[in-house]
Amino acid sequence: MNVLYLVAIGNVPEKAWEWIENASAEWFPLPIRRLAPLPIPAEAYDEKRRQYRSVEIMKMLAQHAPRDATRVLGVTDVDLAIPMLSFLFGQAQLNGPIAVVSLFRLHQEFYGLPEDQSLLRERTVKEALHELGHTFGLTHCYQSKCAMSLATHIELVDAKTEKYCPECGMQLVERFTSLDGGV
């Protein structure tokens, strides 16, 4: 019950795996494994909005979580949304096992700019650490450079760094070293 699983939903570039895997290994003292990719569930598509319902994708991830999974992070290249909000970079269950990250709006091409692999790597890592942070109980941080700060547009993602601030990092330490805390 202590494995962190990464799973692709639909087509996700191979490189994104390495990026997320390396960044996760830097912060979470857990074995990290990949699951076989999952197809995008048909019921997740919202024809009217031409976007994918994040909640449906998270439900699917929960159904496919292996028994030894402590956390499952899904990564997709489609545009995610919830009824209230026009889009999401990602979503997570606070203190829960499931999280999802969308690369759709992390590509420079989405903003009409030429492709930039290095920028995509940075953004992917920041958002993956952000959503995984939520699953380990971290809420949004006031420090704009911390991976846990709230980003509601891409400039705010770019303002972050690929790490947790000392305060959020200490909360993770508490989480991973307390004898009586639950998963």
Partner: protein, 451 residues
């Protein structure tokens, strides 16, 4: 802090409610959801929501506007945000007229919603701060605010009674926030001067010339702007008591002037040629060690002995920890009544935290800390989490001493300390420990450290 501003989301669509709640929870808010107006109202009766998101169109029973009006009946302070689809904007504007704070058209941009919530909460914080400041302005210090079961403090209180009817000068020493002015007032109020004025002057707050005219008054034309005669604090305190706070900070010239007043009970106004005679009891206070100031040549020895006829040294709060629960309960009762908040007390856990803290700002800091906790507390009881910021600032220093434990336990502690030093970075922590990261998590697992 955000946990103290609970939010309610009301929508008949479960997925709408839950996804919105999940998004706000990631931001650190405590969020409840209700599928209809009736349940929303029941929840609002139990919890003082700061913000309620209410969907305009809910089939059957109450619609959004009715729900908002019912919520406002039980929680007039709650900010209601009406959620609407594009087609119903006109009705949403109608809702604003009925008392909604804002309306949002779904789906809205994440930035829009987080800014809206932040803006409303900022306003609420300002409103509550405003309420506190108003209360502070009208608050009077009462001498029964001295609360203690500490033997030294009890001796001091007995002493204030004994000396209250004398005219002898009193010097009160103590760190800032220990209640020097309260003790001075207690001396004044217990004695024959109680009906006469008690005038407090903070000597450190003013420059030498200003302090001089403040204490002794001035004659017309004494300096530019001196358009008429003005009485100084000594004259205003005639028949009563003057409390000179932070006496250790006054200039050599004022030390000489003050010595003369003490000796002769007479002085000149600034720019005046006529002596003024007063009957004033002087109580001085300082957080400095005046004897040392005398040795260093910064404070006149003769003035020191004149002031130090009766000396009272107030202990720091950390020297009277047994008083912390008593004082805390007293402040909770007084401040919650003043602020009109229904707080029944402090939990045992929170009290433990308060007792362990060192209180560099003493009783005044304790009072401020409790006031801050009461303002932001949304439950009927102050809990540990209401003081969590205090715990963080007091710090948990990790001094490495080899304790009497097993080697396994030592290793476990070494791992925790390494992780803490690297602020949670597992890669750096394992490098520092000289093991690879998989060994690190194997060990964490072996010690049954959970995650």
């Amino acid at each position: 802090m955000k946990k103290n501003w609970p939010i309610l989301v009301v929508d008949d669509e479960e997925v709408m409610c839950e996804s919105m709640a999940a998004w706000l929870r990631e931001d650190g808010y405590r969020v409840n959801t209700a599928p209809n107006g009736q349940q929303a109202l029941e929840l609002a009766q139990a919890t003082d929501y700061a913000i309620c998101f209410v969907d305009l169109k809910m089939p059957g029973g109450m619609d959004g506007i009715e729900t908002m009006m019912e919520i406002h009946r039980v929680r007039p302070e709650a900010s209601v945000i009406i959620i609407t689809a594009y087609a119903t904007v006109d009705t949403a504007i109608q809702a604003m007229k009925e008392g909604a704070q804002e309306y949002i058209v779904k789906p809205c941009n994440p930035q829009e919603i987080s800014m809206l919530v932040a803006r409303i909460l900022k306003l609420k914080k300002l409103q509550s701060e405003n309420a506190i400041l108003r209360k502070k302005l009208t608050r009077q210090y009462r001498h029964h605010d001295i609360i203690t079961k500490n033997p030294r403090m009890e001796e001091i209180l007995a002493l204030t009674q004994d000396i209250s009817s004398l005219r002898s000068t009193v010097l009160i020493r103590g760190e800032s926030g220990t209640g020097k002015e309260l003790v001075a007032r207690a001396v004044h109020c217990s004695g024959s001067r109680a009906e006469k004025p008690f005038v407090a002057v903070s000597c450190a707050a003013l420059t030498e010339t200003l302090l001089e005219s403040e204490l002794f008054g001035y004659e017309k034309g004494a300096f530019t702007g001196a358009n008429g005669q003005a009485k100084g604090k000594f004259e205003l305190a005639d028949g009563g008591t003057i409390f000179l706070d932070e006496i250790g900070d006054i200039s050599p010239k004022l030390q000489a002037d003050l010595l003369r007043v003490l000796q002769e009970r007479r002085f000149y106004r600034v720019g005046g040629g006529q002596e003024v005679e007063v009957d004033v009891r002087i109580i001085a206070a300082t957080n400095k060690n005046l004897a040392e100031e005398v040795q260093q040549g910064r404070f006149r020895e003769d003035l020191y002995y004149r002031l130090n006829v009766i000396e009272i040294r107030l202990p720091a709060l950390r020297e009277r920890r047994e008083d912390i629960p008593l004082l805390a309960e007293h402040f909770v009762h007084r401040i919650s009544t003043e602020l009109g908040k229904d707080i029944s007390g402090i939990s045992a856990g929170a009290l433990k935290l308060l007792i362990a803290y060192d209180w560099p700002g003493n009783v005044r800091e304790l009072e401020n800390v409790i006031e801050r906790a009461i303002v932001t507390c949304r439950n009927g009881m102050l809990e540990e989490q209401d003081f969590s910021w205090l715990q963080r600032s007091s710090g948990t220093s990790q001094n490495w001493e080899v304790p009497d434990v097993s080697l396994d336990e030592l290793e476990r502690r070494a791992i925790i300390i390494a992780l803490e030093r690297k602020h949670g970075n597992v890669k750096e922590a394992s490098l520092a420990l000289g093991i690879d990261r998989s060994t690190l998590y194997d060990k964490l697992k072996r010690y049954e450290i959970s995650h």
